[in-house]
């Protein structure tokens, strides 16, 4: 298993081949098998190239500014897939062209942001909870254990920097929806999060598990897949979903409406949904995939070592998905600015 940037095989076809059907796929680094593109090309004779993206926000900015030009398939988290759909940049999917859709769990076809998978196909899903050192602290049970921590863990806590999840911690701790838009409630959450800032070590999206391993942090707000990397390094690290619940995050594949290689794009999405191919993600990057055929073939030892891999789709759907909140996004952005600027 490798969590670091994988060796991109020399098999990977570079974009230099000027074939008419050359697919451009944008994804996070290491999110697909290193030879996924090569094997896809070998099987389908469609040339494809992978372009990397660092964050959802940056690829969205690029897609919006250029109307999606040049991209065929893009991996984005579900609120962003919604935005692409609302702006008319996402292709309306024809299920007949993606036979492997049958591999998905029934729950994965009824996701709140896109019931029936009309413009997005889920690739990975999971929860957001608390990742902590069980040998250095007692197991936390509530989001408030993160926001108003005990004295011995204060200053050794990190929260996620991405605004929707930063706010979600506050919403859940106060029993609200993660898509709450009432301004009075927003203010309440803002104040709670500003208070929480005083006991924080940092807002960290990417290196929090390394901090847990080194002991610099003792409790972190984390995505379940990321926590697994920490668990792999140090078994004393554990993941727990607080009593107030979590959000269900879903990363999806979207075919761009302006794509000139739509059939090839469909073929690629279908290829990824194949049980063997999709299982790679679960086995190698320790993320749950919404692919029933793939998950059922998983090694049970994996589920023992990483308990959050075993959560059932039914349980996942008991959590609320982050949705695009439309106009309220401005208010969210302002609140996050207030929190991050507070001293």
């Amino acid at each position: 298993m490798t969590y670091h940037s994988p060796l991109i095989a020399a098999l990977m076809i570079s974009g230099a081949s000027a074939s008419a059907q050359s697919l451009t796929i944008s994804n996070w680094d290491g999110y697909m098998a290193p030879d996924a593109i090569a094997v896809f090309t070998a099987e389908t004779f469609i040339a494809a190239e992978l372009v990397l993206q660092a964050t959802n926000e940056e690829i969205m900015g690029k897609l919006i500014a250029s109307n999606g030009a040049g991209y065929d398939v893009v991996f984005v988290s579900s609120p962003f897939a919604e935005i692409l759909h609302n702006l008319g940049l996402a292709e309306t999917l024809d299920p007949a062209k993606i036979p492997n859709l049958v591999n998905l769990y029934p729950e994965a076809t009824q996701l709140a942001h896109d019931p029936g998978n009309t413009f997005s196909v889920p690739y990975a899903w999971g929860t957001t909870g608390l990742c902590f050192r069980s040998d250095l602290m007692a197991a936390p049970t509530s989001w408030n254990d993160l926001l108003t921590p005990a004295a011995d863990v204060a200053g050794k806590i990190t929260m996620l920097a991405t605004d929707r999840w930063l706010l979600a911690a506050g919403f859940l701790a106060n029993g609200m929806s993660v898509n709450e838009t009432d301004p009075a409630l927003l203010d309440k959450v803002r104040d709670a999060l500003i208070t929480a800032k005083s006991t924080l070590l940092a807002y960290d999206d990417t290196t929090f598990y390394a901090k847990l391993v080194s002991g610099e942090a003792v409790m972190t707000q984390a995505w379940d897949g990321w926590c697994n990397y920490g668990i792999a390094e140090n078994p004393a690290i554990q993941y727990v979903i607080p009593s107030e619940g979590s959000d269900l995050w879903v990363d999806t594949m979207v075919i761009m409406a302006g794509s000139e290689n739509k059939d090839a794009a469909y073929a690629f999405v279908n290829y990824i949904l194949d049980a063997e191919n999709h299982r790679w993600a679960a086995e190698n990057i320790l993320y749950k995939v919404p692919n029933q055929a793939a998950m059922e073939g998983l090694d049970p030892a994996l589920l023992t070592q990483f308990p959050n891999m075993a959560i059932t789709p039914a349980q996942l759907l008991s959590y609320e998905q982050l949705r695009d909140v439309g106009e309220a996004q401005r208010a969210y952005s302002r609140v996050v600015t207030e929190i991050m600027a507070a001293q």
Binding site: L7, S14, S66, N67
Partner: protein, 260 residues
């Protein structure tokens, strides 16, 4: 005449400061273990891994092309602009502001503006659009550095040269440019350095192809799991190659910098 020990102390302190993190990253590139928390032994395996990573090598090569080309263009345009401004009979305040603008505009604005603009005009994007974008801010920096030098330039030499019958071109070639050369070189170095590490404008103006990925873009995308020793190995190699290139240049240029 200068206080020698003081000069050496200053250089020592400043260069030590500049090279502290560099020593760390070079050391980590030889660390056998993956995490920076512990030294587990000397190893060259990350260099091996780097060699097989075609993407990083491509990106590094692209960055070099972009940085050299945009620095060269920016140096030419910026120097001409600086000379032009300083030799105008009338000072234009609007002109002054215009030249500061590229430095002041937030890079995300320039990035999105250029992408939208290029998309509107259906300009095919790639390394050439990155270069064009980088020249925009690079030329402002070159211009500023050269202007600073020009402010204390003795224009009577130029007048004397003209009085003696030299054409404008000759005057420029044999007098102005050589005198300006330290500033021009400083400006070019500045432009190159700015371009080599620039991410956001490059990301937005690169278009959708993998063939126009620059190193900062590649590395930013790879930070999901933290900085791996592979990247440290790359940085160390870049530094090593640059020093080698300098040593070679010194060998070839025994005569010293022209105009000194």
């Amino acid at each position: 005449m200068h206080n020698r020990p003081l000069m050496f102390t200053i250089l020592g302190v400043v260069f030590a400061f500049l090279y502290i993190p560099i020593s760390v990253l070079v050391a980590l590139s030889f660390n056998d273990g993956g995490l920076p928390t512990a030294w587990t032994g000397f190893s060259l395996k990350w260099y091996g891994a780097l060699w097989e990573n075609a993407d990083i090598l491509n990106a590094a090569f692209n960055t070099l092309i972009v940085a050299i080309t945009s620095a060269a263009l920016a140096t030419i345009l910026g120097t001409l602009l600086a000379i032009g401004i300083e030799t105008r009979a009338r000072k234009g305040r609007w002109l002054e502001s215009l030249i500061f603008a590229p430095m002041i505009i937030p890079d995300i604005v320039l990035a999105i503006a250029l992408l939208s603009f290029f998309s509107l005009l259906k300009v095919p994007m790639g390394l050439h659009t990155i270069i064009a974008a980088h020249v925009v801010f690079n030329l402002a920096f070159v211009c500023a550095v050269v202007r600073a030098r020009l402010k204390s330039f003795d224009w009577s030499i130029v007048e004397a040269s003209a009085d003696l019958g030299a054409s404008a071109t000759t005057t420029y070639r044999r007098i102005v440019i050589p005198v300006l050369s330290p500033a021009i070189i400083a400006g070019a170095l500045l432009a190159f350095t700015l371009s080599v590490d620039e991410f956001i404008i490059a990301f937005f103006t690169a278009g959708a192809g993998a063939g126009s990925t620059t190193l900062p873009m590649q590395i930013y995308a790879m930070i999901r799991f933290g900085v791996t020793p592979e990247i440290n190995a790359l940085a160390t190699l870049v530094l090593g190659l640059s020093v080698t290139a300098l040593a070679l240049a010194q060998r070839l240029n025994r005569g010293g910098i022209p105009g000194q």
